[in-house]
Symmetry: C2
Subunit: 170 residues, 2 copies
């Protein structure tokens, strides 16, 4: 398995899932006659990120994982989103960026040292960076976004989380 | 990167993290003078698993991922845990099982077809099974367990989730 295989297709699929959950959230808000923006500021604990920030963090986790492993400059996103439409645009911008990265860009990624901005002078080998930090961090924010929506009654189920599968016959 | 490298060490680290969050949950309950069992039945939505079931599901996700990729029979765990001590034991039993599996056991795992019990006649190639289903499902339950604890005031932070890192100098 290559780091490209383990990252790009799955990050993209999960981001597209997250994008679709926002549509279900808007539908739910309409059905219950409240503003969708109520959900965007919802959080599970007073000192935890609200939904908007969870989505921004999930987008950043995916963007930086791919950029750092591919040795590319990530696009800048200043975290100014305040509406569902802007969050859709943010997610889609990250998917578009990820789509520009190829398996060839990932050559040498496993052994590349990724510096940690919060720990000057220290870094992680590409494989460890992906398995121990980038991917857990991505799933952390995606799952917390999902949990915030579920906690607020949005009708999501596990298959919305898992998404489509590349089935083969047994 | 091998499937073994992407799975066993990280699943084990996350399970050990989950195990340690339970200790923080018990400390929090003592400090606030409530029974830790209150947390075990906490959930984020009425139709979502409570904490005990999230932990059991995280254990199963890790156990089955490793067993199926290594072509081994997983140990049976009948989901009878009702106390924090029993949940500790369940987590540690899964870590012990994972510890018996070696990189050599994973030979051919990427191309092995893993049958899906909920979709008779269909399965996923090992790599797809791990990236698209087993790992997302594992992180789903681990993160939801974390979210339930955070929602109930247990003092956890992102570093409890990420855990130790294999740092190198840059």
């Amino acid at each position: 398995m290559s780091l490209y295989e383990a990252s790009v297709p799955q990050l993209k699929k999960m981001l597209e899932g997250l994008d679709s959950w926002l549509d279900l959230a808007v539908d739910h808000a309409k059905k219950k006659s409240f503003e969708p923006s109520v959900l965007l500021s919802a959080r599970l604990a007073p000192d935890q990120y609200h939904l908007t920030r969870q989505i921004q963090a999930a987008c950043d986790a995916a963007k930086f994982a791919v950029a750092r492993l591919a040795g590319k400059d990530p696009p800048k996103h200043p975290d100014t989103e305040t509406t569902v439409d802007e969050l859709h645009a943010r997610i889609r911008a990250v998917v578009s960026f990820i789509d520009t990265v190829t398996a060839a860009d990932f050559e040498g990624a496993a052994k590349r040292v990724v510096p940690l901005s919060f720990m000057p002078g220290k870094g992680l080998l590409g494989t460890d960076y992906f398995n121990e930090m980038a991917l857990p961090n991505f799933y952390f924010h995606v799952t917390t976004a999902y949990a915030i929506l579920r906690h607020n009654g949005v009708p999501l189920g596990k298959m919305n989380f898992i998404g489509s599968l590349k089935l083969v016959d047994t």
